[in-house]
Symmetry: C2
Subunit: 205 residues, 2 copies
């Protein structure tokens, strides 16, 4: 019944109570690296969670114009979150635009592709350093029952992911950088569409 976004909110509130505004800033960085939501999604979801008695709130006069609503988990919310954590995840279909571009990369100019992958490589290297910095200011092996374990384990995943992505970008740049195909390039790009498609088995995907 509760959506995954709902559980994301519960997971943050389990650390400590927050306002909707604080939740939306938390969902951009660093938690936003694996789950994002705008405030326009968070506010209605909080109302739903309150209706479902999984969170409650307390009105506090904040520094801003309006009263802050500080949300916290109810016992019911905590129980639901605990149950959800160990359930197998929904199979969300992967939709990776870079891989899709790669699937069609044979149609493009290698020099332009190299530029694209160099930019990607830089972005992933930047994110990796940011992760490494975070790891440096973190205890080595937090106890499983402490929130720090959640931070530590997600960070480990992020570092592993960025390393994978960096390796792949470097491999692509290497592949595209060989001279052999740069020479063939012009022929290939000017070749007509479907040169002999009815001679090709459709099973080749």
């Amino acid at each position: 019944m509760t959506s995954t976004l709902g559980y994301a909110i519960l997971a943050i509130l389990a650390r400590h109570p927050r306002s909707g505004y604080e939740l939306s800033t938390a969902m951009s960085r660093p938690l936003g690296y694996f789950w994002t939501a705008r405030h326009s999604q968070i506010h209605p979801e909080l109302q739903r969670l309150v209706a479902a008695r999984q969170v409650s709130f307390e009105q506090v006069p904040g520094p801003g114009p309006q009263d802050k609503k500080i949300y916290s988990l109810t016992d019911e919310g905590l129980a639901a979150l605990r149950q959800w954590v160990v359930e197998p995840p929904q199979i969300r279909p992967e939709r990776d635009e870079m891989v899709l571009k790669t699937y069609a990369a044979w149609l493009a100019d290698p020099a332009e592709l190299i530029r694209l992958f160099r930019d990607q490589l830089e972005a992933h290297e930047r994110r990796l350093s940011s992760y490494e910095e975070q790891r440096a200011s973190m205890p080595e092996a937090p106890a499983h029952g402490s929130p720090a374990f959640g931070n530590y384990a997600t960070l480990w995943c992020g570092i592993s992911y960025e390393n994978h992505r960096i390796a792949w970008c470097r491999w692509m740049i290497g592949q595209l950088g060989t001279d052999r195909d740069l020479l063939e390039k012009n022929d290939q790009l000017s070749a007509s569409l479907y040169p002999s498609w009815d001679a090709v088995k459709p099973s080749e995907s």
Copy 2:
């Protein structure tokens, strides 16, 4: 103007013409590993692409009840696809449910978590073997201008990704398997919510 789904369709049609039905089967396996769509999404999108003159179709009496519509790229569609390939990808926010569960993993029973991560590990190992099989029946280094290069490069990415994921699952299982915290477990799980939250700096996310 054209959506990413539109480019996914163009990318498949660039290999060779297909019907909407064939597109939807292609979008489940193996292309579905990085881009999925149901036929209920594909048919309307094809109508849009026809209206935009990026694809055209030819009616063919198929084996089924209705005429097959065989779609193929127009020159305009091919040009649009080529341009899109080298453009920087949209920043799609990551939404990884397993990592979200990991973020909240400190709340759960380590034994149940191990079960969860073992299942994930097995799933990723299965997918990796399927990728390795595909690689075995594939030329070593296809020319950049041939569709086989697209297959080869996406497969390389998939193998790298599964290796990262497998490494992370194994690391998690190792972390959770230590006895030290199994002993602490009962204390932690029965600890009350927010034991001293107002003593904690809210900056700790």
